[in-house]
């Protein structure tokens, strides 16, 4: 996932003609198509088919039912916190890691990857262990009547945790690749720290930031495991869209479950479309110049 940004910045090699025999080409293409059809198109299509299996009216009532709307609101709320939080953190961390060498840098990179490495269920349990009644901070929180787990703040925290690495992961490679010369140039020209950051550093990584935000948002809205652990499953209150889908499914309400699931699928599709647009615009407006020069820079700075 982290490699996407660097892919987005490299030149496409000139198209060469395939030299493999036709049979091989066709077989490989067919395998790819069958695979895509079987594992991507078919399941997605079945979600929508089941969602509309009892007509448009049933679909509409499934997604406008109060619990579904509450779940939708909560999902958006969680994303509305998680995405800006990760934007700020990701840009700061990416900047520190990408532009500076300091003690503990390797540790910080590993820590950022932690939410990718641990199972989401564990991530949720960490918060229960921390903020639960029997947790480290639990007694203090009970005393002060503060609710974190089994309430909205816990869901927001878990969502921030699982979507944590996306922005930082996207911009670290870009920050590293651009080096520090432009910042130095800005400083010599009289720019202050903030001017340098907002006029030089940030614009250079803006596509990476946007890309990271899109991915973080997708994860934030789709997360199930971690949120499930801290949710408490209070109907109409602490159920996000994915949790609501599970509940409907368990109530034998398959059509409604798939109707709500189709909302999530739509969110995912919108995300993909935006992602594609971002990639294309990034490729057009930020063609990174001749790659020879950048590789030269790397070799010079290494020497």
């Amino acid at each position: 996932m982290a490699g996407n940004a660097s892919r987005l910045r490299t030149h496409r090699p000139p198209r060469r003609r395939l030299t493999e025999p036709a049979a091989v080409r066709w077989t490989l293409t067919a395998i790819a198509l069958v695979f895509v059809g079987l594992f991507l198109v078919l399941p997605l299509a079945s979600v929508f088919i089941e969602a509309f299996s009892r007509g448009l009216g049933a679909y509409r009532s499934a997604i406008t039912e109060p619990d579904a709307l509450a779940a939708l609101r909560l999902t958006f709320t969680a994303a509305a916190f998680a995405v800006p939080a990760n934007l700020v953190f990701g840009v700061c961390a990416g900047w520190a890691i990408g532009k500076f060498r300091f003690r503990g840098r390797g540790l910080l990179i590993t820590l950022i990857d932690l939410p990718f490495a641990v199972s989401p269920v564990i991530s949720g349990m960490v918060f229960v262990l921390l903020f639960g009644r029997q947790g480290v901070l639990g007694p203090w929180m009970v005393e002060h009547d503060l609710r974190v787990v089994f309430a909205v703040p816990g869901i927001i925290l878990a969502t921030i945790f699982v979507s944590f690495p996306f922005v930082a992961r996207e911009i670290i490679p870009i920050m590293e690749a651009t080096g520090t010369e432009e910042e130095e140039a800005a400083r010599v020209l009289g720019a202050g720290g903030l001017q340098t950051f907002f006029r030089v550093t940030l614009p250079n990584v803006k596509w990476g930031v946007l890309y990271g935000v899109i991915l973080a948002n997708a994860r934030a809205m789709g997360e199930f495991g971690a949120v499930s652990v801290v949710s408490g499953h209070i109907r109409g209150e602490t159920n996000t869209l994915p949790l609501h889908v599970e509940i409907l499914y368990n109530e034998y309400n398959f059509q409604a479950a798939f109707a709500v699931a189709s909302l999530l699928a739509l969110l995912a599709l919108v995300t993909l479309v935006i992602k594609t647009i971002v990639e294309r615009r990034a490729a057009i407006t930020e063609s990174p110049g001749d790659p020879v020069e950048s590789s030269e820079w790397v070799s010079k700075s290494a020497a």
Partner: protein, 282 residues
Amino acid sequence: MGIEVRGVTKRFGSFVALDDVSLQVASGELVALLGPSGSGKTTLLRIIAGLDHGDAGSVLLAGEDATARSARDRGVGFVFQHYALFRHMTVFENVAFGLRVRPRAMRPSDADITRRVTELLELVQLDYLGARRPTELSGGQRQRVALARALAVEPKVLLLDEPFGALDAKVRLELRQWLRRLHDEIHLTSVFVTHDQEEALELADRVAIMNHGRIEQDGSPDAVMEQPATPFVAAFLGSVNIFHGRLEGGAIRVELAASEIERMNLKAGDTLYVKPRKVAGR
């Protein structure tokens, strides 16, 4: 005095990059820092600019101690080896940057900025490329944009790090001559770093030859060529062949020293081949 460096020492871990270096650059002078890679010349340039700080010693700019001042407040123009143009800005905005980031009270009006940038782009002969982005320019054009950008803030001192290093030979020569003419016009105190002795000898008023973090010799091009102060200087400059001769009726009659004839073991009737990369004159 334009620039004065007093006893600057700089270590990177156990590596001594600069060892008690002192250097004086008179106002309006063009000085070359010449030396092999790792000799400390770029470090010295960065310390003058305030991009690095020495462990000991001081830097004076226009007679004032600037050691504690940040790069931001030193009023120097710096041309980076790879230009470090702001890739997301147009050529025009690159040149205007130094003016736009000034505190409000000192910031010129938009009209003034436009006028100044246009003048500078005319000076570097790129006024027709203002709307382009750096990635759309050739190496020589980028170099000239970097120069215009550095000059835009009206620096007291211009510092250039390997200004021609990333250019191909032909462009390098043109740009070198152009830069010399520019310097003769505006008389800005300038220091440039190079590892190419031809470049240093041809362009600079004075050459400081560096090795292992020390200045081995500091003098005019003729002085360092004629009287190398140390074996290192002699060896480092030794690969340049200098032919003394007289210009007679449109042709140069070259005289070869007896020692050279002996060294090359020339006998009567032999033909002398010289395969220079280039013949320069001054």
